[in-house]
């Protein structure tokens, strides 16, 4: 090795070294401009992409002709990159069923809907073709469509979806139903809530749970009551009475778990399928008969303009709206297209007001935040 250089005389180079090192780092970080301030925009500045051309061509086709066109193309592409916020137990079954039917490998990225949105936007801004299809919550799809990254999809299956699920850039595939649920050991069928207004009853003070992020439920119920002729004051009072003594929980899963355990008697706005799963395992919980109107949050699918595998993307979308619907039903979800006997035909269902949510979502978030945090009345508008 070497001999030790004299101790003095080592300082200067070292100093320069560190200084130039940090300068280099600053330089590296400096290039590339503003990471966050640039306004998001569609990645396709010019005309339609290759994927869009294919979509446009197939959108007009129907029935077997459409499948015959898509299947060979999709199998030639061989793969499908899917981003979804579907829970993994459902996603696994859906993907296996699709892969069994077609010779297409599905690469799955799964995360919460907010993360899926972030991921797609980040990738699109960097012109990175990460996914072909995105399947997630209505709100996030709405945002993605605003970003201009979703392509137009049409076809006979889409036209069978209810109005609320046929949005620009995306199509509903399933609904999550918000309904009150209760612990059957603590609440008898007589005591169980029959209307949404019942939740404001003082008898539930300290026994009702509300979820931290359900502002979409809040705004939809608010709008519904408004249409029913209630005044803002009356509606605010109802929510404020609900929130009085309410136990606020983050996450519907935790809410379901604590409801089974008896930490509270009633959950205001859990998803019915979570309660159904627990019930199926024998937990002392129920949500039937439904408190009406049931509030439905659509989840949907959108085709990417920049898809690397456009035929596979379209085939999967068609499939999910046809064969896939039965798979979703088997997994206990509520499908977007109901064929044959509808178990919910006598139940009044209102969809989340996606338009309002996207336009004034932040405002509603803040208001809901205030409602649950102090139970005080919120200024009506």
């Amino acid at each position: 090795m070497n001999t030790a250089p004299p101790l003095s005389g080592r300082r200067m180079p070292a100093k320069r070294a560190v200084v130039s090192g940090s300068a280099l780092v600053l330089l590296l970080a400096g290039c590339g401009g503003s990471p966050t301030a640039t306004a998001p925009q569609a990645t396709t500045a010019g005309g339609p992409t290759a994927a869009e051309k294919l979509y446009a061509e197939v959108n007009g086709m129907t029935g077997q002709q459409r499948r015959d066109k898509l299947v060979p193309l999709a199998e030639k592409e061989g793969a499908l990159d899917l981003y979804t916020s579907m829970t993994s137990d459902v996603a696994d079954v859906v993907i296996n069923a699709f892969e069994d039917q077609y010779n297409v490998t599905v690469n799955l990225y799964r995360a919460g809907s907010e993360t899926v949105l972030q991921r797609v936007v980040q990738e699109q801004k960097a012109h990175y073709q990460g996914n072909d299809v995105v399947e997630t919550n209505a709100t996030e799809l709405f945002d993605l469509n605003t970003e201009g990254v979703l392509a137009t999809y049409d076809g006979e299956r889409r036209r069978m979806v209810p109005d609320a699920g046929r949005q620009e850039g995306w199509t509903a595939t399933r609904f999550n139903l918000f309904a009150p649920s209760w612990n059957t050991k603590l609440v008898t069928p007589d005591q169980a809530p029959k209307t949404w207004e019942d939740l404001a009853d003082p008898k539930w003070d300290g026994k009702l749970s509300m979820e931290l992020s359900d502002s979409d439920w809040y705004l939809t119920l608010y709008g519904y009551w408004k249409k029913q002729g209630k005044t803002d004051d009356e509606i605010n009072k109802l929510f404020s009475d609900m929130a009085t003594g309410a136990k606020v929980v983050k996450g519907h899963t935790v809410q379901g778990q604590l409801l089974s355990a008896g930490q509270f008697s009633v959950a205001a706005s859990n998803y019915s399928y979570i309660v159904e799963q627990a019930k199926a395992k024998g937990a002392p919980v129920d949500y039937l008969p439904y408190v009406e109107p049931v509030i439905a949050r659509p989840n949907g699918i959108g085709l990417m303009k920049t898809a690397k595998h456009p035929a596979a993307a379209m085939l999967f979308t068609d499939w999910l709206l046809q064969e896939g619907q039965a798979v979703l039903v088997k997994e206990g979800l509520t499908p977007a297209i109901v064929e044959g006997d509808d178990p919910l035909k006598d139940v009044e269902i209102i969809p989340i007001d996606v338009q309002e949510l996207t336009k004034n979502g932040d405002e509603w978030n803040k208001r809901y935040d205030q409602v649950i945090s102090n139970g005080e009345q919120v200024e009506g508008n």
Binding site: P5, L24, A29, A126, Q277, A278
Partner: protein, 575 residues
């Protein structure tokens, strides 16, 4: 390499000598390490700062208005500080006491409690918190049921700030434990022995000798704990919200939830934390800097020898058993119990009759479970090793070198602690989506994320140990002709090893839980365990989740034990 030759003409010689000196391993290593630390810290910091102060129209302070303009901000800061300081104090007391008893005394049950005191760290925060709800909720808490005949119903209430302090403090105490174990290991007991000989009582010795000597470690622990608790999300979300107790991070959650995420407001909150942290680092260096005061590992040979507790031995043994029953066995039993059920219910004959291993069986059917385990192991071992190697050199730069600007290295290494995981994920994906090197979509982007996130802990562990090692050891090695690299490798690294090992274990364990940036950055085929946990959680499979938690605790406990068995072979040995 050779030393500069004095024979060449003056000007040329100066230039050549300068180049040669610049080319020594020492300079290269220092340059690389400082560069890497700076790079890892500055990428997310730049992203955060830019997002905080600039929007489409240029410079703005709107984020601060939105972040701190909330009418409840006063109460929130009060709650946050109460919670953070409380948790920090609790974890400090518990962690230090355990470390002291373990390293410096002949307390019984050592083998048991060393591994067991790491367990709260291994259990994912969400499981640990929910386990405490099942134990100490006034409505359904099992402990409350047990003590009800004496104290009346609902005596313990975990849904209060004190409850939050308790759960968070216990969950964090292993960080302190690991730090303090390293500090006590490197302490010369002759100082305490002399005090005892001179007639000081044990308490006086602890207060006047032991604590002052480990002050750098204590300051580091307080600093990390306070910032960590200020940022903690699970405990305030699950325990605080229920009764409307809002803290700092609840705000960060709210501002990041909207779309596009309000990076400016999140950044404004993070900048608040950053200012706090920088002040803390400055104080800790000021405290640690005051010369040789804390250098307990000197040229004089010593062997840390355990102190005899005498008549206190059974008392301490009893206290430890009680502690472990409360904080480790209790939550773990709840998890184990839950993992055997179909759904959570209070213990009853019915519940016990329904028990089965179905949830464990289900674990085998989770697709990608083996891939995820492998990826987590690779990432955990990789990031722990990389971080500790980098930080060993980094700590040398900060503590030992005289390089101007060395404090920057310390500050930079601390930056990631205050950056929310989601923001880190966004920053990394922003950079690597545009990088010509294909890192995005591979496992390397996760490695970079983990190294960034855990750099602050690595640095605290390394710096703390470095403060305890006297410079005279290095000097004598160099006088004896060793190169800087030889000295570093053969003298410093072995002496630092208790601290480095502690940091390594900490990073290994917590990396298994990292979710907030992993979830944004992983790609198909690169799943990690924390993502599986998140998915089971989202699926509502709480019982399966509990089973996964139990398996994780067992896996990591085995790894930690192996690490300590190996670690005991290097560094300072005990009698």
């Amino acid at each position: 390499m050779t030393a500069a030759s004095p024979a060449v003409p003056a000007r040329k010689g100066a230039a050549l000598g300068w180049l040669r000196r610049l080319g020594t391993p020492k300079i290269i290593i220092i340059l690389v390490v400082a560069g890497v630390i700076g790079y890892l810290a500055l990428v997310p910091l730049y992203y955060l700062i830019w997002g905080t102060f600039f929007d489409a129209n240029g410079f703005t302070l709107g984020g601060f208005a939105r972040a701190y303009g909330d009418p409840r901000v006063g109460g929130m800061i009060g709650n946050s500080l109460w919670f953070a300081v409380g948790a920090a104090v609790l974890s400090l007391c518990v962690g230090t006491a355990l470390a002291y008893l373990n390293v410096r005394t002949d307390v019984p049950f050592k083998g048991l409690f060393f591994a067991a005191s790491i367990i709260p760290l291994i259990i994912p925060g969400i499981l640990y918190t929910i386990a405490w709800i099942f134990l100490a909720s006034p409505d359904i808490g099992l402990l409350n049921k047990v003590i009800e005949p004496i104290f009346g119903p609902g005596f313990l209430d975990v849904f209060t700030v004190w409850g939050m302090v308790w759960v968070e403090g216990l969950h964090l105490s292993p960080i302190v434990f690991l730090l303090m174990v390293a500090a006590f290991r490197s302490m010369d007991p002759s100082l305490e022995e002399s005090a005892l000989m001179s007639g000081a009582s044990r308490w006086q010795v602890f207060r006047r000798i032991t604590v002052p000597l480990t002050r750098p470690a204590i300051v580091a622990a307080v600093l990390v704990m306070v910032v960590r608790s200020l940022e903690s999300f699970e405990v305030p979300a699950l325990l605080g919200l229920q009764n409307g107790i809002y803290v700092f991070t609840s705000r960060i959650y709210f501002v990041l939830r909207s779309y596009p995420p309000d990076l400016a407001a999140a950044g404004a909150l993070a900048v608040g934390l950053l200012v706090l942290a920088v002040i803390g680092v400055a104080i800790s260096n000021l405290v640690g800097r005051s010369g040789k005061t804390y250098q307990t590992v000197t040229g004089k040979g010593f062997r840390p020898r355990p102190m005899e507790l005498g008549k206190w031995r059974p008392v301490m043994g009893g206290a430890i058993v009680l502690y472990f029953f409360l904080t480790v066995v209790g939550p773990l039993l709840v998890l184990l119990y839950t993992s055997l059920l179909k759904f959570y219910q209070a213990p009853s004959t019915e519940a016990f009759a329904s028990m089965s291993l179905d949830n464990y069986r289900e674990l085998f059917h989770i697709s990608d479970a083996t891939t995820a385990l492998r990826n987590s192991l690779v990432l955990g071992l990789g990031s722990a090793t990389l971080v500790m190697v980098l930080m060993a050199v980094g700590a040398w730069i900060v503590v030992r070198s005289r390089i101007p600007g060395r404090q920057l290295v310390d500050h930079f290494s601390f930056v990631p602690l205050v950056i929310p995981g989601l923001v880190l994920g966004l920053a990394l994906s922003f950079v690597y989506l545009r990088s010509p090197v294909p890192i995005y979509g591979t496992i390397f982007i996760l490695l970079i994320a983990y190294c960034t996130r855990y750099m602050p802990y690595g640095m605290r562990y390394a710096v703390t140990s470095m403060h305890q090692i006297s410079a005279e050891l290095e000097e004598s090695a160099q006088v004896s002709g060793a190169s800087w690299w030889q000295t570093f490798r053969r003298v410093l690294l072995p002496l630092l090893s208790p601290g480095l090992l502690a940091g390594w274990i900490y990073i290994l364990v917590v990396s298994f839980r990292e979710l907030s940036s992993s979830i944004l950055l992983y790609s198909p085929g690169n799943e990690v365990l924390s993502i599986l946990i998140f998915e089971q959680y989202e699926n509502g499979q709480f019982t399966v989740l509990a089973a996964l938690g139990v398996v994780m605790v067992l896996t990591l406990a085995v790894l930690v034990i192996i690490a300590y068995k190996l670690g005991a072979k290097v560094g300072l040995r005990q009698d």
